[in-house]
Symmetry: C2
Subunit: 170 residues, 2 copies
Amino acid sequence: MNDKAREPGRPAEEPDVPRDAAPALPELDAEELRDRWQRAVADVENLRKRCERQLEEARRSERDRVTAEWLPVVDHLELALQHAAADPRSIVAGVEAVCQQAFAVLAQLGYRRIAQVGDRFDPALHEAAQVREEPEAAPGSIVQVLRPGYDSDSGLLRPAVVSVAAKPER
Amino acid sequence: MNDKAREPGRPAEEPDVPRDAAPALPELDAEELRDRWQRAVADVENLRKRCERQLEEARRSERDRVTAEWLPVVDHLELALQHAAADPRSIVAGVEAVCQQAFAVLAQLGYRRIAQVGDRFDPALHEAAQVREEPEAAPGSIVQVLRPGYDSDSGLLRPAVVSVAAKPER
């Protein structure tokens, strides 16, 4: 049942009830025991099916919820383009606002932007696309973010792609 | 268990196993029956907990999956702004491309844009913000889409906000 390795940041799981745990049992005759057993077996099967349906529903509702968060970003992009047709100078400010709105959506959904120039390179979070000689930068620090990364409490969503300052030759 | 109304587009659900269904039972003595009953009761409890964990995991992975689809849109918005600093005329084409990319993400996730000028007004899909005298348009048809709506196979994500052609006075 617990064949997956525990992921970092997940709460400890309550241990399973041992199948031979002895609840306080009333005295029951064989017919009553058989009846209760049959009911419990049917409950297991029904619960399994209900769980499948709930999983599908949970995915659907999360997909709707997350997509609904992005719709205003798409609306504002369209509006920025419409305004640009009338006043071309308006578009840079409009798109800057949309970009800030997109960052706010990511934050609202629990995703943090990772990788800033000056951060120490961390292979768990960053992909080094380049190693550059940068005498001014601390060796092994990020000197340029080529593509930002994002993580959340439940793990890395996408690593950042960065350029890293070379370590001095000895 | 099935207290929710069936939503349109959902497959018919398999009916629950009746709790008094009689499986083919071997002859068992009271001790064995008691033991099997206890095991089945523990299975119910364990399944319930496992289902809770799986639901949380399904939501998390769907949130990650949908957000990962949007990240390239955010990346390209940022790049369009960077290019605009160097060449202000580039931004309109860049933002148009990002907008198309955002529509493609919505389609990829299974969401369809609803409401076109000329469509018949449908209160299940559209919100009428205005009713206008439009002698050229079919009465009750959409004459302007103020904000597009989106739906999917599992239902309406957001209604479209539209202006509707008035019906002629009699």
